[in-house]
């Protein structure tokens, strides 16, 4: 129980990543695959946040005198996550745009039926 309590965030992050990988690999519907990509990205963002997380920590701004650096949350992973979110928005947007185009050509989103090229 203690193990679970200490590592709950990591379990959550990797749970999301594996759910996403499963969706991207096993689902037939293109939209579900794209949602799976979103899951992977969310899981990784969560993972990056936990790396720098400090229980009951605050922002690393010296507003109050006498604030101990050990109580501050590491800001670098949060900056990384901010960048990663922007990148993911671009990828998911492009993916959905391509999915719309693909639907116009094939009238289906089932990737098993979209076989103009060899999958």
């Amino acid at each position: 129980m203690n193990f679970l309590y200490q590592n709950i965030y990591y379990i959550g992050a990797f749970g999301l990543i594996f759910i996403g990988l499963y969706m991207a690999a096993a689902k037939k519907n293109l939209i579900k695959i794209i949602i799976g990509l979103g899951f992977i990205d969310t899981g990784i963002n969560l993972f990056l946040i936990i790396i720098g997380y400090v229980q009951k920590g605050t922002a690393p701004i010296f507003s109050k005198p006498g604030l101990n650096p050990a109580q501050m949350v590491d800001p670098v992973p949060q900056a990384l996550v901010l960048t990663a979110i922007v990148i993911n928005v671009a990828i998911l947007g492009l993916a959905l745009g391509l999915a719309i185009r693909l639907y116009r050509h094939y009238k289906t989103l089932n990737v098993r039926k979209i076989r103009g090229l060899k999958w």
């Binding site: 993972f47 990828i91 492009l94 993916a95 391509l98 693909l102 103009g116 090229l117 999958w119």
Partner: protein, 494 residues
């Protein structure tokens, strides 16, 4: 002072990026001028890279951004490897941009030019950066613009190939980000030199997981064997100018990133033997798949997979001569495959078919194009006096020097693959020259096609005749990969 500002390597990234965002505004002012924007941007990069080359050979240039000293800032590391890749990127970017002026007819040219410049910005950024998260960001710029460019024609095949490429590519970049997360968790820094300095302080299985994630992530872009399902579709369905860029630059950037992370951060270890074997498997699979294709662009795409395998094999030998041979093969493949895609694109442009049978007798209808195509194929097979001969020879010599029965077997397999490669390329050349054409008309090639193709062909023959010209710089680059300590010392000082 002016002199120093103009020779700052940061401009190699800044100028194409700035031009990419200025393109729509330039398009509003002059519809005609906007066509030439990528040509000018890449010409600038090419000249600047060549000016920087002699300086960088002596001493790598470190650029710190925002006034902090490394490892507290994002820094650029402009070493021999970076500048070699930068020259290749800007050279191919420049030539393909000239080709694209008349080739791209469909859709607004601004959109194509923005994505094109962003792709090359991403590639240049990857080879120059010294910060691992910055590398990831540039990698994403490269990937996203290449997804969009594959679908540029908006036809059925292009969209489908781009979707496949996007799904696999974004899973790959997710792995890379995860690997970066692991490294940051272990070392608390993102600077590559700083991580490399502290790499031996931690000895945990997490480090191995991080390395595996990097290999898998960059391996998707570099198309190593089980991860290359997207490549034949994407490279064959894209517009031919983009195929030339993807095959000539994008996949090599994946390889560069993989080996930069492996050599500089993780150092030499057992994984290289594994990579050498995977490289040869990739080579065999690529060449055998190319052998049975009937679509000319798919043949070239599969041949790219094969060449990637060869390069991975050479770079994984792990000696100075091995890495230098691998980089030489990268130069060979970049020049030859770009030339082939440009020629094939021009042939398809006139015959409107990608099937091999439509190439019948083109030797009579398009003599110059066919001749240039033949130079490209002979160079890839490795016939003298073209550039492919010294590069393949140096790979074999490096492998034999590395010794061991394993490398001997791998080299024998590599020669078998070369024979397969020779057979299918000769088959194409035979179809082009010795079959009767369906029509008898002569097609006059246009200037914007001829100029880049002839420059590439001249380079292929010239470097093939005088390989010693680039031998020195290749050896320096190999030294940069292997000499981890001096990399750390140059970046962090002292």
């Amino acid at each position: 002072m002016v002199n120093i500002i103009w020779q700052n390597p940061i401009l190699l990234i800044l100028v194409p990026l700035g031009l990419a965002f200025l393109t729509p505004i330039i398009g509003l002012i002059s519809k005609n001028f906007v066509k030439y924007v990528p040509v000018l941007g890449m010409l600038f990069n090419l000249i600047l890279s060549i000016i920087l080359l002699p300086k960088v050979i002596i001493n790598p240039i470190i650029i710190s951004i925002a006034g902090w000293k490394p490892p507290f800032c994002i820094n650029l590391f402009v070493g021999p490897v970076g500048i070699i890749f930068s020259i290749l990127i800007s050279l191919i970017g420049f030539l393909v941009a000239i080709y694209g002026i008349n080739y791209i007819k469909k859709g607004p040219i601004e959109r194509y030019n923005i994505l094109y410049l962003l792709l090359l910005t991403g590639a240049t950024g990857i080879v120059l950066t010294g910060d691992i998260f910055n590398l990831f960001v540039f990698f994403e710029i490269l990937c996203i613009s290449s997804y969009a460019l594959v679908a540029y024609n908006q036809d059925k095949n292009g969209i489908e190939a781009a979707t496949k490429y996007l799904i696999q590519g974004s899973i790959g970049s997710a792995f890379i980000l995860l690997g970066i997360g692991f490294l940051y968790g272990l070392y608390g820094t993102l600077n590559m030199a700083d991580i490399a300095q502290n790499i031996s302080t931690v000895n945990s299985p997490t480090l191995f997981i991080a390395m595996a994630l990097f290999i898998a992530g960059f391996g998707i872009e570099a198309s190593i064997f089980p991860l290359n399902a997207w490549l034949p579709d994407a490279h064959s369905s894209a517009p031919s100018s983009i195929s030339a860029i993807l095959s000539g630059i994008a996949i090599h950037i994946g390889i560069y990133a993989m080996f930069r992370v492996l050599y500089t951060i993780f150092g030499i270890n057992n994984v290289f033997t594994f990579l050498a074997i995977v490289g040869i498997i990739t080579l065999l699979i690529g060449e055998m798949s190319a052998f049975k294709q009937t679509n000319i662009k798919r043949i070239l795409a599969y041949s790219s997979i094969g060449q990637m395998g060869l390069i991975i094999f050479a770079l994984s030998i792990g000696t100075i001569s091995g890495i230098s041979a691998g980089l030489f093969q990268i130069v060979t493949h970049t020049l030859s495959k770009s030339l082939l895609f440009l020629c094939v694109g021009y042939m398809i442009y006139h015959t409107n078919s990608m099937e091999l049978s439509s190439l019948k007798g083109l030797g009579k209808r398009m003599p110059l194009t066919s001749f240039l195509f033949t130079i490209g194929t002979f160079s890839l097979i490795g016939l003298p006096p073209f550039i492919g001969f010294p590069s393949k020879l140096s790979i074999i010599l490096a492998g034999l020097k590395a010794g061991g029965i394993l490398f001997l077997i791998l080299i024998i397999l590599m020669l078998c693959a070369t024979v397969i490669e020779g057979v299918y390329f000769f088959k194409i050349v035979q179809i082009i020259y010795f079959r009767e054409p369906e029509k008898q008309d002569r097609i006059k090639p246009s200037f914007t096609f001829l100029l880049p193709a002839i420059i590439l062909a001249i380079l292929i023959i010239f470097i093939g005749l005088y390989p010693d010209l680039i031998h020195n710089i290749l050896n320096k680059s190999a030294g940069e990969f292997l000499d981890k300590l001096s990399y750390i010392k140059t970046v962090l000082g002292g």
